[in-house]
């Protein structure tokens, strides 16, 4: 008998109802075979049903109260401003020190238990592994790795059309008229410049017939692109000073060459060979991997949903870019699986999640973004990607031996995002949130709680479903004391929102509201939102609420291209779980995976976790 192995293939956001229907139609032959060999079940996900939260519970075997990741977004109780919740920004101690990023994920991950037991792991792109953990084995960080500007992905759009304005989270670079142009790639912010600006790499673009010739200022030095094509990765170096530089890489995409030249440059990804911050463990692993398999996207959210949302390219071009990411990931997986001989292997394919977010409206005739004249085959692309995921699992199955436990799972399902809910507007309408100077909620107050009178505010909403009480001693201008007063506010919200009707549609938009003590336990439970809204399928918190904003309406159509989502009542969006072993009866939960894996590998630690091992003994 060989050494015991566990291989986990994560398929982010695969929806059980789609999987089951495709299985029934014989559309997913490999997953079907896997089910026959072992088991398939729907799997309970976390509160809330979100990628970083769910994968952290997968990794640690505890509910979010035990690992501290509750949402993509958190608020700083000192400023009430939104911040990324996956990691913490640490201000430098002195002029010599560098700004630092520290992971907020706590708890003990599978690979840390295994490291303690001397068992190696290969972990590819698991969310919330930035900065990467030290471990026996190798790790490449996933969701949470920023671009060179420090965000989750800011691309740049270049155009000769003077009427074009910058959209959300993008840099707009105007181009002069002509066919031979000098411009630049927008790099990291230069905070020391006065006024602050951006570091740049100069480039030259020349239109010649059907192609755009780009002198990239990097490597390769020249690329020629036709309309609607993506370039390979281009390595560029931003000179930060006479002595220092920062390496990055971009892909170019040409939107059109006439009547005006327009092109797009992807967010500047860290160069795996010289990342600004370590993105792998050991730190030189990313470099070695890129030498072995070629360059790959390092940005946490590698699929460029933002460029599509802003209309800088269309769905077909987004699909092409998603394909590039998927291919890189598959190459990475194949390469590492070939040398995998012992312990734990994890790889995540994020693409199904990112594709469903952007293409869902094509499969939902009731979506406000659905039009009869839209190309119907785009909705079918979701199924095509499910089939591709099935093929990926098939490739892994070919490598299995009898000592290997294979797990294929999704962290949550998917649903339509037709209508959005403005939580802060509801709180204002119900006298729980006050605005200064007689102002009323509107999209003028679109973010950062502009106009909020904290001295009369009991509760406020920020992030993707959470509500916070304005607590004395916790929030900077908190007014609520713990006890009956705070309970009165909690009750007002839970009873007031329970089954709340969307008047325009005459159906409920919200199922219920959970109090944090009902859903979380553990050392970090106190850091979660006080309340969590469980939306009905079809509904989600509004774009404005997520960043502390308002609208004059309570419910509103979601007209963005981002048209599918999963941040609804977690009971409505379970994940899927396939194993090549029989599972015990009973409801499987995402926290069960960690004990299952540890038990299979005979490593201690699993019995202390919340979940139960799933395999039949």
């Amino acid at each position: 008998m060989g050494k015991k192995k566990v291989v986990v293939v994560g398929l982010d956001g695969l929806e059980p109802s789609i999987v089951e229907s495709m299985l029934a139609h014989g559309d997913l032959p490999n997953l079907s075979r896997l089910r026959a060999m072992g088991s398939y079940t729907r799997m309970k996900t976390t509160y809330p049903a979100q990628t970083p939260v769910a994968w952290s519970s997968f990794a640690t075997g505890v509910n979010p109260g035990g690992h501290g990741i509750f949402d993509f977004i958190r608020r700083d109780p000192e400023t009430y401003l939104p911040d990324l919740a996956l990691s913490r920004f640490e201000r430098p101690k002195s002029m010599l020190a560098q700004p630092k990023v520290v992971s907020r994920r706590n708890g003990i991950a599978i690979w840390q238990h295994l490291t303690n037991a001397g068992i190696p792991s290969t972990v590819l792109r698991c969310p919330c592994t930035f900065p990467p953990d030290t471990l026996k084995g190798t790790m490449l960080a996933g969701v949470g790795v920023p671009d060179l500007r420090g965000g989750q992905g800011t691309g740049a759009f270049y155009t000769q059309d003077k009427t074009v304005a910058a959209q959300e989270h993008e840099n707009l670079v105007p181009l002069e008229p002509g066919n031979d142009l000098k411009t630049y790639i927008v790099g990291p912010r230069n905070l020391r410049a006065n006024p602050p600006g951006d570091f740049r790499v100069d480039i030259r673009v020349q239109k010649s017939g059907e192609t755009l010739r780009i002198e990239t200022g990097g490597s390769p030095a020249v690329v020629e692109l036709r309309e609607r094509c993506w370039s390979p990765w281009i390595r560029v170096k931003f000179k930060l000073s006479m002595l220092q530089s920062a390496s990055g890489m971009v892909r170019f995409y040409v939107r059109r060459l006439s009547p005006v030249i327009e092109f797009y440059v992807s967010p500047v990804n860290f160069d795996p060979a010289a990342p600004v911050y370590p993105i792998s463990s050991p730190p030189d692993y990313a470099k070695r991997l890129s030498e072995e398999i070629g360059l790959f996207a390092t940005l946490g959210m590698a699929e460029d949903h933002n460029g599509l949302n802003n209309g800088r390219f269309d769905e077909a071009d987004y699909l092409a870019q998603c394909n590039l990411v998927y291919e890189e990931r598959e190459k990475m997986m194949d390469h590492e699986l070939r040398r995998f001989s012992e312990g734990f292997f994890f790889v995540l394919f994020d693409t199904p999640d990112r594709l469903q977010h952007m293409l869902w409206r094509f499969r939902d005739p009731e979506h406000p973004g659905f039009h009869r004249d839209l190309p119907a085959e785009l909705g079918e692309q979701v199924n095509a990607l499910y089939r591709r995921c099935d093929e990926t699992v098939g490739r892994v199955m070919e490598r299995l031996d009898e000592d290997t436990l294979l797990i294929a799972l999704s962290d949550h399902g998917f649903n339509s995002f037709r209508r959005s809910f403005h939580t802060n507007t509801w709180l204002w309408q119900n006298g729980l949130l006050a605005l200064k100077d007689g102002r009323t909620p509107s999209t003028d107050l679109k973010e950062n709680f502009i106009g909020v009178d904290w001295s009369k505010t009991y509760a406020y909403a920020l992030g993707l479903g959470g509500i916070y009480l304005n607590m004395k001693g916790r929030e900077r201008e908190g007014i609520l004391e713990e006890g009956t007063e705070a309970d009165r506010v909690r009750n007002a919200i839970t009873t007031g929102m329970q089954g709340l009707i969307d008047a325009a549609k005459a159906v409920p938009g919200i199922r219920s509201v959970s109090r944090r003590e009902e859903i979380y336990s553990g050392a970090y439970a106190g850091e979660s939102p006080d309340l969590l809204i469980n939306f009905q399928p079809g509904y989600r918190v509004s774009w404005e609420t997520a960043v502390g904003g308002f609208s004059h309406q309570l419910f509103e159509d979601n007209t963005r291209r981002w048209s599918g989502d999963h941040i609804i009542d977690p009971e409505a969006v379970p994940g899927i779980l396939f194993m090549n072993r029989k599972a015990a009866n009973g409801q499987a939960k995402i926290t069960d995976l960690s004990p299952t894996i540890l038990q299979f590998l005979n490593a201690p630690g699993g019995d202390k976790l919340e979940g139960k091992a799933l395999l039949v003994a």
């Binding site: 101690k93 010599l96 420090g150 960043v547």
Partner: protein
Amino acid sequence: MKICILELDGTTPELIFNDERLGNIRRLMDLGLYGKLQDASLDSEDSSSIANVAICDPLTHASQRPILIGVRSDSSLPVNAIRVTCVATKSEPTEPASIHEELQQLFGDYAVGPKDPAALPEDRPLDEIVTTSGKQWEVARHLASKHEWDYFHFVETGLDRIPHGRVVPDYYLWLDEQVGSFMELLDSETIFLVISMPADSQDGVFLLAAPNCPLAGEYAGATLPDIAPTLLDLSGFSIPESIPGRSLVAGLEKRTPDAALAESDIEQLVQDRLAGLGYI
């Protein structure tokens, strides 16, 4: 103002200044003052005693609480001094005894170094040298962060343990990480100096960063005896007339230290973190 010195024994200007991969060294060069260091013909038989006369003695004299690691020091130490011995530099025994016990307990045999570097095999693996030096750096980081000091001086001797003639750029890369780790743990009231002593015909190197230093960039023509007066000048001590050399910043108005990053910059950095998240 406190003074922290990392003395990298045996480094050369070419390898320090010309390797772009040395990110922390580059950052230091950008932040402060740097250049080659000539020895100005101090009379001494070996490099460690040059350092001793030119730097360690005047600073120890000015200091109330020095921590010296692997430094050979002739001058008498103040009551609160900590001295850690190093076999490689043949420095005096560790004192006080409580520190010896503390280090022994934490790090085992900490006074690392070869008895006779010349006897080392040519193919000695770099890993082994790094492991040995790594312990020295751990001792240094421990003392720098857990004990009080106003003058901290650590002599790194790893390059002495690499047989002569071997190409050592990878060791420089590792050293750069160690220097970076020190840069992270110092507070904003510290003058930071990375130095290698000139020896024979070989120039030394200095990289100096201080929040109040009025000069920045490359400095040509500095000599070893200038370093101690410069440090004393920046830290606000008076410069004894007996010591040779002159402060490189003599007569210049000290800069008012500015914050590493302004509050508005930090806010901007935090807001930037959400850009492109998709869910917002």
